[in-house]
């Protein structure tokens, strides 16, 4: 998932009379056309459940469904709370205090986003247990070895560690924008530091915290690789088990449909809550006074940040590196996975460009010509985004076999699926950009006789190109890490880095898996760098 926050968090400016100009038919047609591919698989999955006899054909008992809901809900709740706590703490420490190297720390705690959670989980497995890297290190200094990381606690740890950075990235700008006079007033009236935090700071952070918890919560629901590797049963993993354990694809589709319905409910609940959450509209007039930390507090803070960076970044990289080196010393052939890296990079680049292009009409429609139907289009693409990729992938698989066999198992279908799943990332970035530049220049261009297309090419795109770049970088980062939909929909022989990591680790070829993982992390670092510098320093 992403650092993009759902759209309504950025309060939409009241449309001026000029912005209410009617949208052209072409714009509508384009916007609808790019939204359809995302809507189709959802509708199909929901229909699988709700059609007459759907429940019987699913063949999953209600007790089993309850069990899966329970185990998934526990994980979602615990990871979300943990990630919120970690991410808010790191954001606060790196914006509001006088710790040395705040910029560097902020960068370091964002970097775990380059590590897909399944790679993190793989590294956790490789560092624990009798022959784990950390166990061996502990053993060497006479300490007891670590037990094997698996089950609930491991899944909780992995998903918290490799998701809290989203919270950090979303909360940091919010903290920075916050008007410090309110806090100072509270302190001046005698409120304690904690009370100020609770009654003044946290309520202002509410929109940021809500949207990041939605992001983390949805990610946990959709995670497939980490929970599989760490052996914790969730809904998404059960879909996969059904898919591979049964000959008939219906039970897997049925479970996906149920999950789709559940995710839609979650999105709706969040949208309701969001309505009451527009406290942070005031902009800071000046930067807040940094809080001076005492020596013990300072060291505790360094310890905390250092600990997180060690667990989320240093340990996995060391473990992967160790595997790669150890494998080669055992005579395993070093395979630089060049063709996989090329495929991954190419398909992610293509998907990023297409997604940004597809997001443009929807963004223009929703920002320049706001209307109820436009909002519905936007909501449709957000719902696809919020669904587990495994479910969306299954939907695309079944639909393309049935209706468009010509694209089945082609790069085209893969890219269409990526665009459908990740459109909102580019959409949110583009919308933010469009809102910042306003419509007056475009109107001027049109009044001087330029056509819509010429205006788009000469005025709009050049003005928002930075936002487009950010959206594209986000899509690139997400696509290159994407695993379950890629597994299902890739053309035969089209092994990407993610697929390679997955297949090599399940066949115990850890040398190959670790090399591929390191290459993936290296490539992902480039777009992440772009995003982090934008998000943290604006």
């Amino acid at each position: 998932m992403t650092t993009a926050s759902p759209p309504a968090v950025i309060p939409a400016p009241k449309p001026s009379f000029r912005q209410r100009r009617r949208a052209s038919g072409t714009l509508w047609a384009l916007a609808i056309a790019v939204t359809i591919p995302g809507a189709a698989p959802i509708l199909h999955l929901v229909w699988t459940v709700l059609r007459p006899g759907g429940f019987d054909a699913g063949g999953i008992s209600a007790a089993r469904l309850g069990q899966l809901f329970g185990s998934t809900a526990i994980l979602v709740a615990s990871v979300t709370v943990t990630a919120l706590a970690l991410g808010t703490a790191t954001a606060w420490l790196t914006t509001r205090t006088d710790l040395a190297g705040r910029g560097m720390w902020s960068m370091l705690v964002s970097l775990p986003l380059v590590i897909p959670s399944y790679v993190g989980a793989l590294a956790m497995l490789g560092s624990s247990g009798n022959s784990g890297v950390v166990s061996l290190a502990l053993d060497a200094v006479g300490l007891p070895k670590l037990g094997v990381f698996n089950g609930f606690w491991a899944a909780w740890g992995a998903l918290s560690l490799w998701n809290f950075s989203y919270v950090h990235l979303i909360t940091t700008p919010a903290l920075r924008r916050m008007d410090p006079t309110l806090e100072e007033a509270a302190r001046g009236l005698g409120a304690s530091g904690w009370r100020t935090m609770r009654d003044v700071v946290l309520p202002q952070l509410r929109p940021a915290l809500l949207s990041s918890s939605l992001l983390v919560g949805l990610y946990v629901i959709s995670d497939f690789g980490a929970v599989s590797l760490l052996r914790y049963e969730t809904f998404t993993r059960a879909i996969y088990t059904q898919f591979r354990g049964r000959l008939d694809v219906t039970p897997a589709l049925f479970l996906s449909g149920i999950l789709v319905l559940a995710a839609l409910v979650l999105v709706l609940v969040e949208q309701r809550n969001r309505g009451r959450a527009s406290l942070a509209a005031r902009r800071a007039t000046r930067p807040p006074q940094p809080i001076r930390m005492g020596t013990p507090g300072r060291w505790a803070a360094y310890g905390f940040l250092g600990g997180i960076v060690t667990a989320a970044l240093v340990l996995p990289l060391v473990t992967l590196g160790w595997w790669a080196v150890q494998g080669m010393s055992l005579g395993n052939v070093f395979d630089p996975v060049l063709s996989e890296a090329t495929r991954s990079t190419t398909v992610a680049l293509v998907a990023a460009v297409v997604t940004v292009a597809a997001a443009l009409p929807v963004a223009i429609l929703t920002v320049r010509h706001p209307s109820r139907p436009a909002r519905i289009l936007e909501a449709v693409s957000w719902s696809t985004y919020s669904l587990p990729h495994l479910a969306v992938g299954l939907g695309f698989l079944v639909l393309s076999i049935r209706f468009v066999p010509a694209v089945y198992q082609t790069v085209t279908l893969l890219v269409v699926a990526y665009v459908a799943m990740f459109l909102p990332q580019a959409l949110a970035a583009t919308q933010a950009g469009l809102r910042q530049v306003g419509a007056s220049l475009e109107d001027a261009s049109r009044s001087l006789g330029s056509g819509s297309l010429a205006t788009l090419g000469r005025i709009t795109v050049p003005l928002v190109w930075r936002s487009l770049l950010v959206g594209g970088a986000l899509v690139f980062l997400t696509v290159i890490k994407e695993l379950p939909a890629t597994l299902l929909l890739r053309p035969t022989g089209f092994e990407t880095l993610a697929v390679r990591i997955w297949s090599a680790s399940s066949e115990l070829f850890y040398t190959q898996a670790s090399v591929a993982a390191l290459v993936l992390v290296g490539i992902s670092a480039i777009p992440l760098y772009l995003l982090v510098t934008r998000d943290l320093h604006r």
């Binding site: 009798n130 354990g245 089945y408 297949s503």
Partner: protein
């Protein structure tokens, strides 16, 4: 196009040799046997696959039962013993694999080793062994057990296992790894995983324990290949299967410790010859009929 439920390191060298010899290019889709079987059925008539090579007789048998496989010519079927091919000639066994209990030799003593799979439901094994119930090879073993002992007894065994606090995995590989590392005492797997690990790592504190003949645990399964009925390249597809059964390919599988099913190629290093392996007197063809019951029983026992 070949859909391969066998892994890339196992298959690709043989495919490359085929392409070099015949000039026929083969695209291989690597994934789990179960995933591919489900995919083929979902694809139905529009499947791009020409050949399917499964880990197990049950899943390919399931495909055959749906009428999706073409009959193979007799000269291909005759390359292996009858019991390692489909009775109706729609798939042929390529290699053989035995179900075993892999155990850590430091953690499990010789006299503790079970005499049969039923022993694993006893209290002394509680929490000490791993299984991979969603993996095709475990499912295939259960299909055999249903044939040999009936549904009721099989369910009783599965429930006994589920109640004995097993460690649940997704696949055989991680079980073997955990046993080798000493994180797990034992696990139900196929025989060759450990042998490949030994080949990679050298000496390890783990060994395979074979169940005696007649025990449902002691089962030799064939990895089966068949040609899709919808294939437009049927001659090439049959040629590919013939190539998998050639002495050259079979010798390659031997180096990865699976049993060649073609006579006279040899026996994996240090292993009992195929004919002397303990086995269960069931028809592999019939495992296709017990696939659905087996899956239902595994789910009913709550092994997930």
């Amino acid at each position: 196009v070949l859909y391969s439920g066998r892994n890339e390191n196992f298959v690709q060298p043989v495919i490359d040799a085929f392409t070099a010899a015949t000039g026929i290019a083969v695209d291989v889709r690597y994934a789990g046997t179960g995933e591919l079987a489900t995919t083929i059925i979902a694809e139905g008539d529009s499947t791009p696959a020409d050949v399917f090579w499964a880990q197990d007789p049950a899943f390919i048998g399931g495909i055959a039962k749906q009428g999706l496989l073409a009959e193979l010519p007799d000269e291909v079927l005759d390359l292996v013993e009858d019991r390692y091919a489909d009775a109706d000639g729609r798939w042929v066994g390529i290699t053989g694999r035995s179900r075993v209990l892999v155990y850590n030799t430091d953690l499990v003593s010789q006299d503790e080793l079970p005499d049969g799979v039923w022993d694993l439901t006893e209290p002394e094994w509680a929490g000490r062994f791993g299984v991979a119930p969603s993996n095709g090879s475990f499912v295939a073993f259960v299909t055999g057990m249903v044939l040999a002992e009936g549904e009721e007894r099989t369910l009783e065994w599965l429930e006994g296992i589920a109640a004995n606090d097993p460690v649940i995995y997704d696949g055989n590989g991680p079980i073997v790894d955990a046993v080798v590392a000493g994180d797990l005492d034992a696990g139900l797997v196929n025989h060759y995983y450990l042998l490949q690990r030994i080949d990679q790592l050298g000496e390890v504190p783990a060994a395979n324990h074979f169940f005696p003949s007649g025990d449902p645990g002691g089962l030799v399964m064939a990895t089966g290949a068949g040609v899709l009925a919808t294939s437009e390249n049927r001659d090439a597809a049959v040629a590919l299967i013939e190539h998998l059964l050639s002495a050259e390919s079979q010798a390659h599988f031997l180096t990865l410790f699976e049993y060649p099913l073609v006579d006279g190629v040899g026996t994996p290093d240090g292993q009992v010859p195929l004919g002397e392996l303990p086995t269960l007197d069931i028809s592999l063809t019939d495992t296709a009929d017990t696939l659905e019951p087996a899956l239902a029983l595994i789910a009913e026992a709550g092994l997930t």
